[in-house]
């Protein structure tokens, strides 16, 4: 027994190490970046220390002015000024130029620094600037998590709504949730009759129909989305056909609209709804229906009181799967959607690639992960089974 366990441990260990090192720890680190705050403390250690001891009343002592001028200059030398500027600019727009200007002028500044800094940039004369610097001293911040829900922190630590022009994430999550819900509803509604019919078809036909569902299931998401991209072009076949039939006067611009996103998502995710429903339904014993009929139930009663409740686990599994995949989907909206149809994944990608704002990417990831975790947990509770994913 003990030796078997050793063998088992030996067999599991390599994969566990890979998953730990290449997935669990990275995901954990990433999530930690949603609250981590070290740019300012690293680049401006002395300033941070002085500000930490400051009582927050009025302006900080002269030493703080001196330290910030010196350390900003040093950060410019060490090419670390970009991180600090980005971090502070995210807290308050306009801070970037203040910090960069001060860094470049650092050599020329002379004591008393309080006066010369304010002369260089009026912001240094405002208490808020210093409070912001102090609150960025680390080691952790709720800035990103708050911002990802359209809240922001006042310099004295209170939580308020973000400025109107910077509020977009709640809308983004609602949009992601709404599109996913719509896609899930459409998929479930389309999948149920298909799964039912296939499960009830006779021998060769049921396998043939199932194969027709498996073909899109096995083909790549990108290939299928590309197909829609081609079909929905202004000069593409769909427009061509609709114009030819006289249903349209002029070609419609579908690419870049919400319709294209929903269409592509439904197409990509529909097999994931059909297959679990089908597998539950084929395992349903037809004698349940016979029993119901022998007890007096008519067709509708048989469906509503026996078939539907028995096939519900398949519906839940399929629906949960589609929702799960839709919520995290990047490819389809990125390819066929417009700027206003993008979902959370696209924003995460942008924060990583374009803005290089790790904090926001991590905060959005954390919320997305929480959302999918809730769905998986709910589905597991409701179905008592496995819910997996692909795509």
């Amino acid at each position: 027994m003990r030796r078997t366990n050793w063998l088992a441990a030996l067999l599991i260990a390599p994969l566990l190490l890979l998953i730990l090192g290449s997935f669990l720890v990275p995901v954990g680190l990433t999530l930690f970046r949603a609250v981590q705050d070290r740019e300012v403390a690293q680049a401006l250690p002395e300033t941070s220390a002085i500000l930490a001891a400051w009582d927050g009343q009025g302006l900080p002592p002269e030493a703080a002015f001196a330290a910030v001028a010196r350390e900003l200059g040093a950060a410019l030398e060490a090419r670390r000024i970009g991180d600090v500027a980005q971090r502070m600019n995210f807290a308050r727009t306009g801070m970037r130029s203040t910090l960069l200007r001060t860094a470049r002028a650092a050599e020329r500044l002379r004591a008393p620094y309080a006066a010369s800094l304010v002369a260089l940039d009026a912001r240094w004369g405002q208490a808020e600037t210093w409070l912001l610097l102090r609150s960025a001293g680390g080691p952790v911040t709720s800035l990103y998590l708050l911002r990802a829900m359209d809240f922001t922190q006042t310099p004295d630590g209170g939580v308020v709504q973000a400025p109107t022009d910077e509020r977009l994430y709640r809308t983004l999550f609602l949009r992601t949730f709404g599109i996913s819900l719509l896609v899930t509803a459409i998929c479930v509604l389309l999948a149920y009759p298909v799964a039912y019919t296939i499960a009830r078809l006779r021998a060769p036909w049921s396998s043939i129909a199932l194969t027709l569902v498996l073909i899109p299931f096995w083909s790549s998401v990108l290939v299928r989305t590309t197909a829609w991209f081609v079909l929905l072009q202004r000069e593409g076949p769909v427009n061509g056909a609709l114009l030819g039939m006289g249903l349209l006067e002029a070609p419609a611009q579908v690419i870049g609209t919400r319709i294209a996103v929903v269409l592509a998502l439904v197409h990509v995710l529909l097999p994931f709804a059909i297959l679990p429903m089908h597998s539950v339904m084929t395992r349903l014993d037809a004698t349940y229906l016979r029993a119901a009929a022998s007890l007096g139930a008519n067709g509708m009663q048989r469906f509503l009181r026996v078939w539907l409740p028995l096939s519900l686990p398949g519906v839940l599994a399929g629906g949960a799967m589609v929702f799960l995949l839709a919520v995290g989907m990047y490819t389809a909206p990125a390819l066929v959607g417009g700027d206003r149809d993008q979902m959370v994944a696209w924003f995460i990608a942008n924060f990583l690639n374009r803005d290089v704002n790790w904090g926001m990417a991590a905060a959005l990831s954390a919320y997305l992960l929480a959302m999918t975790g809730a769905i998986v947990a709910l589905a597991r509770i409701l179905t008592g089974g496995m819910v997996g994913a692909r795509g």
């Binding site: 030796r3 366990n5 063998l7 088992a8 067999l11 390599p14 994969l15 566990l16 998953i19 290449s22 997935f23 669990l24 990275p26 995901v27 680190l29 990433t30 389309l190 039912y196 009830r200 129909a209 027709l212 569902v213 498996l214 073909i215 299931f217 096995w218 083909s219 790549s220 998401v221 990108l222 290939v223 299928r224 590309t226 197909a227 991209f229 081609v230 079909l231 000069e235 056909a241 197409h267 037809a286 229906l289 016979r290 067709g299 995290g328 989907m329 990047y330 390819l335 994944a345 995460i348 990608a349 990583l352 690639n353 991590a362 990831s365 992960l369 998986v376 819910v387 997996g388 692909r390």
Partner: protein
């Protein structure tokens, strides 16, 4: 129990329409890829292989194909080996918390790819694995391996544990018993997992987008880039070839499923 005839006609009609919706785009892409002109209209008004020729002679497509297959093959080997070992270990072991372990090992399956991508991008950047094919293989292995674990675990449910006891009673040490008795009995599950791993790697796009270096285009990444750049039928030729691969995967997985079912009955 038969449905009302009208209900049956409606159900079958709806099913046919949905299947048409699922398959029509793929068919259109295949047909358009043989178009003799740049215009993507149906019917294409001719037949030509020029876009396939273009695909096979354009350096970036060839390179992307090579990269894709190198990564997919390496991923399949690694994922199948590690996944099978872990599944067998999970089946053999008698310890608490097994369910938690299975959940941990299959977590990449339910994690949004964008989150996995972000996490790996960040972690691999620290140890300098981004932009290397090795990093890409490791990343793909992480998302492909849960399918191997699940497939092998499923086949193991049907494996009679007494066979291992018999092997032991005949003098086979544990490792030998696993290799000579268990693996030959569960290979359809292992192979099914391998097919899924290969397909996952070949199709994977989001993680590749972040992890691969500037020159390391795979087929999906090249397709995405080309679509954004300018839409040419060469993309459709690539899509058709990928589609062909997925048909092969489907065929392989069905053959394996039948094999497994027959083994079970025997």
């Amino acid at each position: 129990m038969r449905e009302h005839p009208l209900a049956r006609i409606l159900l079958r009609g709806a099913t046919a329409l949905v299947l048409l919706f699922l398959l029509a785009p793929m068919v259109a892409v295949v047909v358009l890829s043989f178009s003799p002109t740049e215009l993507m209209v149906l019917p294409p008004g001719g037949f030509s292989l020029r876009w396939y020729e273009d695909f096979l002679t354009a350096g970036r497509w060839v390179l992307a194909t090579r990269n894709s297959f190198v990564v997919a093959i390496a991923t399949t080997l690694l994922a199948t080996l590690l996944g099978t070992m872990a599944a067998i270990g999970l089946q053999l072991g008698r310890f608490r918390g097994k369910a938690v372990l299975v959940t941990l090992l299959t977590l990449p399956m339910v994690t949004p790819y964008i989150v996995t991508a972000a996490a790996m991008f960040f972690a691999y950047a620290i140890i300098g694995l981004t932009g290397s094919l090795l990093g890409l293989v490791l990343a793909h292995t992480v998302v492909a391996v849960p399918f191997v674990v699940v497939a092998v675990l499923a086949t193991l449910q049907t494996f009679d544990a007494n066979l291992l006891r018999a092997a032991a009673s005949l003098g086979a040490p544990p490792m030998l018993a696993l290799l000579r008795v268990m693996v030959p009995n569960i290979w359809p599950g292992i192979a099914a997992g391998a097919v899924f791993a290969f397909a996952t790697s070949l199709d994977e796009f989001v993680i590749t987008l972040f992890m691969a270096g500037p020159g390391q285009f795979t087929l999906p990444r090249q397709m995405y880039a080309s679509v954004r750049e300018s839409l040419t039928p060469t993309i459709l030729a690539a899509a058709t070839l990928l589609f062909l691969c997925s048909l092969l995967f489907l065929l392989a997985s069905e053959v394996l499923r039948l094999r497994a079912a027959r083994k079970l009955r025997a």
